[in-house]
């Protein structure tokens, strides 16, 4: 189970360009409006920008997950994170995805999110590693994936590196959602 064989990369690249093309066409067709069913956007963000977004989400339980297309455990974890969003979004859970991909990989990141049916806004790292890592959490070594969990008051209650299973994620998030 290697990361990317050249063939897979080519397929992904082709898919990325196709997706990018669709995004452009959709943008032209809809002006500046973003319909709810449009593919996920990847907004460039610093660590501080991401924390600002967490602050804006006060009232929700927020899980920030830093991932990358090149990271196998990240790709394995994404479906479980999205399941959590699907099943608990209505209870006040919000997933903030932040891609740490190289600039050259951004089309691939957008294509991967599109293939997983992501339609909500997401972010992509737009500053040097050191500032981004320490800006999010000084305990983070830089290993991917990395996750930060915030309660409804916007307090950071947990940080971890590495992939978590759906059951582990739910075990962390559910007590914060409250109300059974």
């Amino acid at each position: 189970m290697t990361d990317w064989t050249p063939r897979r990369r080519n397929v992904l690249r082709a898919a990325s360009w196709a997706t990018a093309g669709l995004v452009v066409l959709a943008a032209i067709a809809c002006g500046r409006r973003t319909p709810a069913s449009s593919p996920a956007t990847l907004t460039p963000a610093t660590g501080a920008d991401v924390l600002h977004e967490v602050e804006r989400s006060r009232g929700s339980v927020v899980l920030v997950n830093v991932w990358a297309t090149w990271c196998t455990p990240c790709r394995e974890e994404l479906p479980d994170l999205l399941r959590l969003q699907r099943e608990h979004g209505a209870n006040g859970f919000r997933l903030i995805l932040v891609s740490a991909d190289f600039a050259s990989q951004r089309p691939a990141a957008a294509a991967l999110l599109a293939s997983l049916g992501v339609t909500f806004p997401t972010f992509v790292k737009a500053e040097g590693d050191q500032g981004f890592i320490d800006g999010l959490d000084t305990r983070w070594s830089g290993a991917l994936p990395a996750s930060l969990l915030f309660d409804r008051e916007g307090r950071k209650v947990a940080f971890w590196e590495g992939k978590a299973s759906y059951e582990e994620l739910l075990g962390k998030v559910k007590p914060l959602l409250g109300g059974g």
Partner: protein
């Protein structure tokens, strides 16, 4: 029902214990597991103690499959080759479980070392125990010890994995220069994004 604050506190403690925090070597520490023999791509069994240089020792946890390693590998080869003839012992250690990443197998490591022209040992951490002892979490991750065997630099190769031409801070090169000259690196600890080490389960 348990108090929510207690639940949160316990959850946080559990998460902290379950990760790598607090286990990484600190600046000033000596290399752990320095006697552990590791098989190099040329067939030799080498320990960190055996490859230690008169002026210092560089240990880099790395692998074959990781895209961040691939991005930095040319620079790792350049620095390793340049400093291992200047009295710095250099060893690149692959702690990954090849069952998870076949690209990290021993034959693939031999090919990579040849293709990249490594003139220093590229070895297998067969139990991932050396990486665990160092508290390493990702690849690539560098640990540089001075002539006295004390950790003086820990972290990234430089500040731009994607584009060598746009590197503004050559962290490891500067640290190597300092150690070779017998002084302390100006920057002792840096961070960069990398691949999580896939530790063997045993």
């Amino acid at each position: 029902m348990a108090h929510p604050t207690l639940v949160t506190a316990l959850g946080t403690v559990f998460l902290l214990v379950g990760s790598q925090f607090g286990l990484a070597l600190a600046i000033g520490d000596r290399a752990p597991a320095a006697d552990v023999k590791m098989k190099s791509v040329d067939g030799r069994e080498l320990s960190i103690k055996e490859i230690a240089g008169a002026k210092g020792t560089l240990v880099i946890f790395s692998c074959n499959h990781c895209p961040w390693v691939k991005a930095w590998e040319g620079r790792i080869a350049e620095l390793g080759n340049a400093y291992q003839v200047k009295g710095i012992g250099v060893i690149v250690v692959n702690p990954n479980d090849p069952a998870a990443y076949p690209e990290d197998s021993f034959p693939a490591m031999q090919e990579r070392a040849k293709a990249r022209g490594f003139q220093f040992p590229y070895v297998v951490d067969a139990t991932s125990g050396v990486a665990r002892a160092f508290g390493a979490t990702r690849t690539p991750e560098a640990f540089l010890f001075d002539a006295a065997g004390v950790l003086v630099y820990h972290g990234a190769i430089d500040d731009n994995a994607e584009d060598a031409a746009k590197v503004a801070k050559h962290f490891l090169r500067d640290a190597l220069q300092a150690v070779e000259a017998g002084s302390k690196p100006a920057v002792a600890e840096t961070k960069a994004i990398g691949c999580s080490i896939k530790f063997r389960s045993s």
